[in-house]
Structures are given as structure tokens and as C-alpha cells.
Symmetry: C2
Subunit: 362 residues, 2 copies
Amino acid sequence: MSRAETPRRGSRPGRAGIRDVAAAAGVSITTVSDALNGKGRLPDATRRHVREVAERLGYRPSAAARTLRTGKSGLIGLTVTTYGDEPFTFTEFAYFAEMARAATSAALARGYALVILPATSRHDVWSNVALDGTVVIDPSDQDPVVSELVRQGLPVVSDGRPAGALPVTAWVDNDHDAAVLGILDHLADAGARRIGLLTGTSTDTYTHLSTTAYLRWCERVGQDPVYEAYPAHDPCAGAVAADRLLARPDRPDAVYGLFDPNGTDLLAAARRYGLRVPEDLLLVCCSESTVYANTEPPVTTLSLKPRRIGTAVVQLLIDAIEGVDSDHPVEQVIPTELIVRTSSQRRPPRTTVSPPRSPEGA
Amino acid sequence: MSRAETPRRGSRPGRAGIRDVAAAAGVSITTVSDALNGKGRLPDATRRHVREVAERLGYRPSAAARTLRTGKSGLIGLTVTTYGDEPFTFTEFAYFAEMARAATSAALARGYALVILPATSRHDVWSNVALDGTVVIDPSDQDPVVSELVRQGLPVVSDGRPAGALPVTAWVDNDHDAAVLGILDHLADAGARRIGLLTGTSTDTYTHLSTTAYLRWCERVGQDPVYEAYPAHDPCAGAVAADRLLARPDRPDAVYGLFDPNGTDLLAAARRYGLRVPEDLLLVCCSESTVYANTEPPVTTLSLKPRRIGTAVVQLLIDAIEGVDSDHPVEQVIPTELIVRTSSQRRPPRTTVSPPRSPEGA
DNA sequence: TGATCATGCAGAAACGTGCCTGCCAACGCG
DNA sequence: CGCGTTGGCAGGCACGTTTCTGCATGATCA
């Protein structure tokens, strides 16, 4: 009874709790909670009064307490693959940045926030953050993090179709097979006789699917495969591999590069060997960067539409979190977009004067 | 008494609580907590036993409960400026990506995780996540988010020196003034007679400091300022502004561009006007992108060292969170680095054959 | 007029930890 | 033998919410 008016012994001066609001407003804790959360049955007068008092005291509900009580934190993990001690690799740079940007937007629009977490992390970081679900980018075959998450009953949505029997809740991916075939046909239409590939040595599904699609296409049209593979996480190795590809005796007259920097690397290598693009060498690379609109010459790129992927992944995840019987399928395939520029057209409309920058993207 | 063996009525099957561990190990909750956290005075046998049981049950402590109890969440906010409804702008792309990458690494190394939050957000997202502190990028003059955070007693460290009397805990920044003066001197040394500036219309400190440094330099050497300003968040406006700058009657013979895409934009504009780089036009731009090593010609860039900034910001913030009487100053100035390439050298070593890619960065 | 019911609110039990307090046994020592 | 001391553990409160339950009060109705 004597404690009724004591000003909360342990309370820091800066933070007002729900009790302080209740006391100041002359109501109970329940009433404050109901008034602020729009629940219960209260007359508008009480609701307004409580809101005013809360505002005056600068009351902010404790996220930790709310999370503990409700079981929902409003946090979504974004798992990025790591090479060495740095999170996310160089080659996925623009892709990842765009994808993360879209995912952040989509999450915020639905009241969630994104937490960046590395795939290969010590347990203490993972267990220190309360997640409602997780987005994983390109999970490996038997990803232990994914297994652990689903064991805890958390929904997991992956960017990139899961390899093996990885039990993800849903996934989003491009149709890499169709994309590669489309590019190879495009180059063949432009007059390519021997198409080379610049690919990676890692075992992720993107690299794997793209490479096998290339090999199948070669077999179908009866061309000997001409490709160089390099560790895609090493920025310098790409330049070396591009050089090697153009130094081969069976030099290709067209090249598709799977990774973002391949375009500039191949352009530089072509200059070293005196090859004109597109006259002597047709060029396409997979990139989200806008610099290829202004290179000399502009380079045809394949966009994987990372913004659409980031948005879709987050929507699927939040649907799963909130138990929405999603009308989206649990497997979503996002179409790619081939942005055709001078580097892959034998007869470009104009060779010296490039047209004013076009407003691409969406 | 009869409840002693009941398997926790409300417990979901997938999650074991500390009570379950205590019951399975035949000890009390306190003993489990102490054993797992290395506190209290327990014989090693008990400690090992508890750890084994916890491992067997797959016990993961509830982050929410721990946060509520300890008052520390292990989460750091990363506030990004927003233009429109998308977080972080195009122009800061590579800079932000690098900086965020380094910040993520530094935070994880000390057991913290990063939460991406937009500066202009509805309150509900901010109050739904328990933060131990926040990193803000380029806060505006009277940033309401920063004020609110410091009012709650949370440490705030800013990337970019705070404008006005913004009460941040610490800040990290480059010496933009010295950087701009260094570039202008570098261009003048290379033979530039009239140096132009491509700048922005926004009021952040980076744009402001750089522009005033340019104007002061012009006044000192007696050159009329020649500059174009454009809204830096619009990727197309940069190309237009670059074109305008080279179309002026008092066309500059050297240009410094403050933003990342300015290099390619200026190269494209120079080609349109038949200007050779560096013979007719010297070029420098501020960028973290590696594409400028392989453009034709390679472009001299100013690096703001975002990785060092991201690391420093997080270190300062965590020091403040953990109450370390930091031996770092609360204001840290990171040196910039001018990466000199062909575009700013009148007599380049070789004009047609570019040297093999150098392993820059670090 | 007494029974029924909607309305407006308060009490109190969780949520799962961390940690302060305290009990019991064993031990050393004068 | 009595007493302080230390090791080994258990009880229980508190963190700040949400929410279930329930008690009044006035209005409605047979």
C-alpha cells in the first residue's frame, strides 16, 4: 500500500513504462495497453486521454517485453553468404545491394525490419536475436543454419532454389536455364559462330544451372564448349580468366560472362588483343550495374531483376510468418530481362555517337 | 507438487525452455543459467552435465527474455537516408554497400548484429525493435530520429559530422575540405586552367563542405567557379548535368564530379562533344567502384574509404554501448585516398595498351 | 421490479530469463 | 565441541508487456 506512489525503484529516468502512463492517466495498465493498441472496448474519450498522456510522457513500449509476450519480434533475418571474414562477395555486389534494398522496403512496408546475419556465424549471434523468419540467399546443399532454423519452427524462404532436400518454406528464383539459352540464341542470331562462357568454380545453383545449360546448348548445336572457370569471389581472378579466354587458340567470337565485373574485364581484355566489340567479339554479361549503359561500347546485360526477387522473397516470408494461406505459390519464378545494347549487335544503329541515356530499369 | 513433472502446459513442442533443461538435468533454473553463462560457483562436473543436457534438448535461450532481463539486445540500428519510398540512394550505392559491409563485419566480430532502418520511418517500426545503439548516415540538421534516440538515452554515432548542434555521441568523417583541395591542386598540377565541378542540390554536409571548398579554392587562385548542381538521387539527372557542364561557353578543361556515376556520365558526355580524355579534358570523380579501373580511359577516383569508416563507426558505437572509456577520440577523421589513373594525367605512361589490372583496395 | 446484458474498466497470470538472497552441508580451527 | 567460512545449489522476484477473466454500473426488457 505504501508502494503505490513510489516512483518505480529501478526505473531509469529517461524511460517511462506502461505503469507510469497508467498512474499519470489515472487508469489501469490494461486500459493503457488496450487504448494504445486499439483493442478492448473503451470510449473514445478514454482512448484519447491515454494517448495524450502517453505522448506527453514520451512513452515507448518496450520491444523486448512485447516480443517476449507475443512471440513476434517483427524482425526478419537476411542471411548472406560469406567468403573469408567479409560478408557477401564482390561479384554479387550490385545484385545483392539491389535485392537487399527491395527486401528492406518490402519488409518495412509491412512493419518488419531486416537484420543482416552471415550464414557462417557463431551460434551466439544467431541466438541473441529473436527472429520471426529468415531469408537465405543461395543456401548450400546441407546448410546447417537452415536446418537449425526449421527445427526451431521458423519459416525460411530462400533466394535461389534450394539444392538437395533442403526443407525451406518457399523459394524464389529466376529461370536460369531459359535465360542462358535465350542469350546463346541471341548471340547466335547476331552471327556468333563460337560462343564462350566465363563461369565460376563454386557450386551454387546459379553457377551450376547456368553452366549446364550452356553445355547442353553446345551439345545441341554441335559446338565445342569454350569456357573458363574462376573463383568468383576473387575480383582479380575474373580479369585473369577473361584474358585467358581470349588468349585461347580456339578463341570465341562471342562471350557470355556470368558475373557482374565480367563485362569490363572482357572489354579490357579485348582491347589488349586488339579485338573490336562488337565487330570481332560479341559480349553479354549478367549484371545489375548501370555502368554498362555508358561503357564504350555499351554492353548487353542480363538482369536477374533483384528488386522483384527481394520483394517476392519478403512477401512470401511474411505471409508464412503471419499464417496467411498465401495465394502465391511457394515456388516463384521471376523472369529475367535481357537489355540489348551495342556489344551484342553486329550492325549497331550508330557506332560513334551513342544515343542519350535511356531511362531503363523499373 | 503434481505440476513438477508436467511438461509445461503452454510450451510449443519445438522449443525447449530453461525450465525443461533444469528438469532434465535434475538441477534448478539458477544452476542452468549459471552453468551456461559461466557465472556463479559450480564444479566443472555440474557445468558439463548441464551443458550436455542443454545440447541434447537443443536448448536455445530466448533472445527476447534475455533482452528484457539484461536490457541489452545485441542489436545496432543502421539508419539510411531515404529518397522517395526506397531506402538509400543510387549515388551512394557503392559507398553504402561497402560501408554497410564493413559495419556488419565489425559488429559481428563483437557479437552484435545490424538492423537496417530507414531514417524517415513510422514510429511503429522503430519502437518494435530493441536497439542498443544506432549508426546514422549523414543526419540532417535537426534530425528528429536522432533527437528521439538520444532522449531515450541510446548512443548514436554518425557517419558524417553532424550539422548544427545535433547531440550525437560520436562521429566519423573524412576531411572533405582537404580532399577537394588536394584534387583541385592535382588537376592544376596536371595542367588544368579552368576546373569545373559537378555537385548536388541537396543540403547534406558532404555536398556542402565539398562545394564550399571548391568555391574557396576558386577564390584563392582567381578562377571563376564553373559548376552544375543536380538532385543527386536522380540517376538520369547526373547525365544531363554532365552534358550541360561540357556544353557551357566557358567549358572547363578539367572536372571533378562529387558522385559515383559522374565518371561514366562525364566520359559519355565528353565523347558526345568529341573531347578526348585526358588530352582535352581532365577527369576525377568520387567513387568506390572498381569499374573506373577498366574504363576507356581509366578514371582517377577519390575513395572515401567507406570500409574504414564503417568499421570505425561501429567500434565507437559499441564502445559507447559497453561503457568502455574509449581510447579513441569521439571524433574520428578518416583520410581519403586519391587513386590516380589516366584520366587526370596529361602525359599518361601508355595511351593505347592499359597495364594489367592492379590489385588495389585493401 | 428483478433479471439480463452490454459497457467500462481493473486484477493478475503469464512470457523466459538473470540474479539476488539464502539455506544446508562440510570443513577448518581454536 | 562451538563457530565462522566456504562451496553448492534452490527459491523467488523482477524485467515490461499482453491478455484472460471478472467485477461493477447503468440501461433494457419481460
